[in-house]
């Protein structure tokens, strides 16, 4: 099997490269070949063949020269296309960032700088093999709104991989790369991780630098890792986490030893099960899977307590006011002046240029959210919507503060449903928004969360095939308690695998 190296975990792969057992070039080769072979999944919008191979060759030389290699030496990683890279185009899934080049072809925006997380990955020897597809400007839960077309779920290519970091989840799930970076504003790492059967972490807000992440909703956006196991995600987060003087919202809180925390497991942790996450909208097979995990945790000797987060039901409304308001402002810089798309009829004046460029550059969902966000901030409506939502956000945070006085970790489903069919919810924005109902509250509270695969379910959807689809369990911890989160997640992962 030629692709055996990509079956290895992040940690194992890095150790083999560091020990000289595997040349990095061979890994880069395998990853690049896998990406080409599975182009049907549409996980990537840019493949960085040359620069990835060059980086791999440098690593191998470095090792031959006896110089120490980084913590992610030779680990192929996919970057969500919302992360700026100086040597790969960035388009954020949007026509807005595509321009016709001198070669007559459309290419993404060439950022003059690297995102801080990208710099940190490079410094630790990661192989940045390409940019992963995503919902346009990270606004979506299905990776269907990308200008490059929908990304497909490797478990069933007729289904969505989740979103918005769908390409990143698919890259990891289909073993095109060992890990990926996504960004999570309301569930955009955890939900696709659940739908694709991989581990996805949304760190505490402020844990990871946002510098170089194309902003969707600044008070919610966080970059985080995806990998096939908890330990792999822990190592990647350790590399990208930590204070960044270029991001004023980045917290100066020491980064723990997340990999070591994985060894601790669930023992001694008090788990809480919030009733509001097990309501009517929850798919029965997912409920059963999560209850199965809870039973194993109890069997392992942990206390499990029912708890209540009474404002959960207001999460979606709060989120869509705050996130769209911030987005409407964040996306104002896409005006056709300094970069990106410009549409200019002959003789058009400045306002016509703005209006035409933005109408042509943004897709349907993005426009919807810009309009909503502009509306809730506009004169006469600010207090009723934006200011109101900021206060409800406080209530949602207080819910978590209260339960975390009694429990250490919350356990919930990541998503109320398994991956749905491509096209199924595109015309129903509200139904699409509900896909994030279990992930949004943690984003609003700023607390860290992780989705860990916890089983498969067979779906009867009237087709000949009856695909098996993954289910994810979500664990949540208080602010900056990533070590506890990884301990719990690695423990749950072990309990699930033991079956």
């Amino acid at each position: 099997m030629t692709q055996s190296l990509l079956s290895l975990s992040v940690t194992e792969l890095a150790e083999r490269v560091r020990g000289g057992a595997v040349p990095a070039v061979e890994i880069a080769d395998q990853s690049l070949r896998a990406i080409r072979e599975r182009s049907d999944l549409n996980a990537f919008c840019h493949v960085a063949e040359e620069s990835a191979l060059a980086a791999a060759r440098r690593l191998d030389e470095q090792r031959r020269g006896g110089r120490p290699l980084g913590k992610l030496a030779g680990v192929p990683i996919a970057l969500k296309d919302a992360l700026c890279t100086h040597d790969q185009p960035t388009s954020c899934g949007s026509r807005m960032l595509l321009r016709s080049g001198d070669d007559g072809r459309e290419h993404g925006w060439r950022s003059p700088y690297d995102a801080t997380v990208v710099e940190r990955l490079r410094a630790e020897g990661a192989l940045l093999v390409g940019k992963a597809n995503m919902d346009e400007f990270a606004m979506g839960s299905s990776s269907e709104t990308c200008v490059y077309g929908p990304t497909r779920n490797p478990w069933d290519p007729e289904r969505i991989p989740g979103g918005s970091s769908g390409g990143s989840a698919v890259a990891v799930a289909a073993r095109l790369t060992s890990a990926a970076l996504g960004s999570d504003t309301g569930g955009s790492i955890r939900q696709p991780a659940a739908h694709c059967g991989v581990v996805g972490v949304k760190p505490t807000y402020g844990r990871v630098s946002r510098y170089g992440l194309v902003a969707f909703a600044s008070s919610l956006d966080q970059v985080g890792p995806m990998a096939r196991d908890v330990r792999g995600a822990a190592r990647v987060l350790e590399v990208i986490a930590g204070h960044d003087p270029k991001d004023s919202t980045s917290a100066d809180v020491p980064v723990g030893d997340y990999e070591a925390a994985c060894e601790r497991g669930v023992s001694g942790l008090r788990f809480g099960v919030p009733a509001e996450y097990f309501g009517d909208g929850l798919d029965p097979s997912i409920r059963a899977a999560i209850e199965g995990v809870i039973a194993k945790i109890e069997a392992a000797g942990c206390t499990v307590t029912p708890v209540s987060l009474p404002h959960t039901d207001y999460g979606v409304a709060t989120y869509y006011i705050l996130a769209t308001a911030e987005a409407s402002s964040n996306l104002a810089r896409f005006d056709g002046v300094r970069f990106g798309k410009r549409v200019e009829a002959p003789g058009a004046d400045l306002q016509a240029m703005y209006g035409a460029s933005r109408n042509a550059g943004f897709g349907r969902e993005v426009k919807r959210r810009i309009l909503l966000g502009t509306y809730v901030l506009s004169a006469g409506y600010y207090d009723a919507y934006y200011a109101k939502a900021q206060r409800v956000r406080t209530l949602i945070r207080q819910d978590f503060d209260r339960v975390f006085q009694d429990v250490d970790v919350l356990i919930t489903p990541t998503s109320p449903t398994v991956a749905f069919r491509i096209g199924e919810r595109l015309d129903d924005p509200l139904a699409m928004y509900m896909a994030d109902v279990y992930t949004l509250p943690a984003s609003l509270a700023g607390i860290p969360g992780i989705s860990v695969p916890c089983g498969l379910t067979t779906v009867q959807d009237g087709r000949d095939s009856s695909p098996e689809l993954p289910i994810g369990v979500q664990l949540l911890c208080p602010m900056f308690e990533e070590e506890r989160l990884f301990a719990a997640a690695a423990g749950v992962e072990e309990l699930v695998r033991a079956t």
């Binding site: 992360l83 700026c84 960035t90 954020c92 960032l97 925006w109 950022s111 003059p112 700088y113 995102a115 946002r210 510098y211 170089g212 992440l213 194309v214 902003a215 909703a217 600044s218 008070s219 003087p245 270029k246 991001d247 004023s248 919202t249 308001a325 911030e326 409407s328 402002s329 996306l331 104002a332 810089r333 896409f334 005006d335 002046v337 300094r338 970069f339 400045l350 703005y354 502009t374 901030l377 506009s378 004169a379 600010y382 934006y386």
Partner: protein, 479 residues
């Protein structure tokens, strides 16, 4: 019948803070560089770039607020002011809106001898926009070198009642900001500019009329002319029974008139909200006290000290406290010649030194050094040279590093105050001009000038005319 109206005026002043780098990024604030050469991802508004606040900008803003007698608000918020404009790269300006860092200040001004205290609503920090250049091949061009430059906006209360008061207020704010070292006071380069809100009301009325905002006034002369033009325009409207429309107007210095930019209906909906990229600005007591100390004496305090302790006239104190460089020079000379009456230094600075002084922002270049002036005034005070000679020596040493003492010696300019020499000269003259002596004795004092003139001629101007007059009077009366 025409009624009398009272103008109600409030100014909003934008002043650039004297930092090396921009408000939210490390790009240089240097002026006059090629277009788009002081730019980076942050001030270009590139996707993914984030703002980080400049500490010195905060400090200078605090100092400006303290100098304007404002109280400092411990926790303030940066907000986004959203509007589309080519020179505004992010599509929003980062400014302070609901919670500025300072409020409730005041400033004393003086117009035609009348003193007045003008209120200041608030001082807040914000970033400047870039520059648009028009008329290039049918397009406009955008230069973002200035985008992100730190500003304070000083919002004045509507306390001003004439264009002269407005100009005096604008000047006073400029002088004080330059004085405490936060602004270069350069109106030509746009680092100090203002908007004026103008309304009229019938004299005696206490409610405000509809106000018009005059945008971007960049000279003291224009502020007065623009407001006068606007007062005249509104007066005509009100006299004709019309209503002033709430709008934004601009002043055209060529026509001397104001013209409408946009009406209230077209006013922007800026959709202010707290910038999620920037946590609150927390200004601690320690920082405030450090800036209070760094601010030193304010011009008003300097003037009071000079008048009360040094005996300077109000006018002299006013003139010499206009610029911190003047104050440093005056105090520097004073320190070198502590025995000299400060008034004499002040007089000579006002009449001679300031004529050759060139102000450039925070810096003043003088045509002589403090040391040269100290030496010159010492010679004058000792009577070695006359006042007239002092001016001559000053002119000779200006722009050189020559010592006044050396110049005086070289040119033999020492005053002839040897009474013996002068007496023999005068006795000779008295003997040769009995008629004139009789006239003096008869009370025609002005004839004394004839003798003094003759002595000055004979001594080639190096005699002290005062000494000569006294001696002459003595000789005439005794003989």
């Amino acid at each position: 019948m025409a009624r009398t109206y009272e103008p109600v005026i409030g100014l909003e002043i934008h002043a650039q803070l004297l930092t090396a780098s921009k408000l939210f990024c490390g790009c240089s604030t240097d002026f006059g560089k090629p277009p788009n050469s002081n730019v980076c991802p942050v001030c270009l508004g590139l996707p993914g770039a984030l703002p980080v606040l400049n500490e010195r900008a905060v400090r200078l803003a605090v100092r400006a607020a303290l100098a304007l007698n404002c109280s400092i608000v411990e926790t303030s918020i940066f907000a986004r002011k959203n509007y589309f404009y080519p020179d505004l790269p992010k599509g929003y300006q980062i400014s302070q809106y609901e919670l500025p860092f300072s409020e409730k200040g005041w400033l004393d001004i003086e117009v035609e001898g009348r003193k007045k205290r003008a209120g200041i609503t608030r001082v807040h920090m914000e970033e400047d926009a870039g520059k648009n250049v028009h008329g290039r091949g049918g397009d406009s061009l955008v230069d973002l070198n200035r985008a992100g430059t730190p500003l304070v906006e000083i919002v004045g209360e509507p306390d001003l009642r004439s264009s002269a008061e407005a100009a005096a207020y604008m000047r006073a704010v400029r002088d004080i900001l330059v004085f405490v070292g936060v602004n270069d006071g350069n109106l030509e380069e746009g680092s100090f500019r203002c908007d004026a809100n103008v309304s009229l009301r019938p004299l005696g009325e206490t409610t405000f009329g509809t106000r018009v905002e005059l945008k971007n006034i960049n000279s003291f002369r224009f502020v007065q002319r623009a407001i006068d033009a606007e007062i005249a325009r509104q007066t005509v409207i009100l006299d004709g029974g019309g209503q002033v429309l709430q709008e934004t107007r601009s002043f055209d210095p060529e026509s001397g008139k104001t013209a409408s930019l946009r009406s209230k209906e077209e006013a922007h909906d800026y959709r202010y909200f707290p910038d999620p990229d920037l946590p609150p600005v927390v200004i601690g007591e320690a920082l405030v006290e450090e800036e209070r100390a760094a601010m030193g004496e304010l011009p008003s305090q300097v003037r009071r000290r000079w008048v009360d302790e040094l005996g300077l006239t109000e006018a002299a104190a006013q003139t010499l406290s206009q610029h911190p460089g003047y104050v440093r020079f005056f105090e520097g000379v004073r320190a070198q010649v502590p025995g000299l009456e400060p008034k004499k230094i002040a007089n000579f600075m006002q009449t001679e030194v300031l004529r050759g002084a060139v102000v450039q922002g925070q810096r003043v270049s003088f045509s002589v050094s403090e040391g040269q002036l100290a030496e010159l005034l010492t010679l004058l005070d000792a009577g070695t040279i006359s006042g007239k000679q002092a001016k001559e020596v000053f002119a000779l040493v200006e722009g050189t590093d020559q010592s006044p003492k050396a110049v005086v010696a070289e040119r033999g300019m020492e005053v002839v105050s040897d009474a013996g020499e002068l007496e023999s000269l005068l006795r000779d003259l008295i003997a040769r001009n009995p008629k004139q002596v009789e006239s003096i004795r008869a009370g025609k004092k002005q004839v004394m000038g004839f003798f003094v003139g003759q002595v000055m001629k004979a001594t080639q101007g190096s005699a002290d005319p005062k000494v000569v007059s006294e001696l002459l009077e003595k000789l005439v009366t005794e003989s």
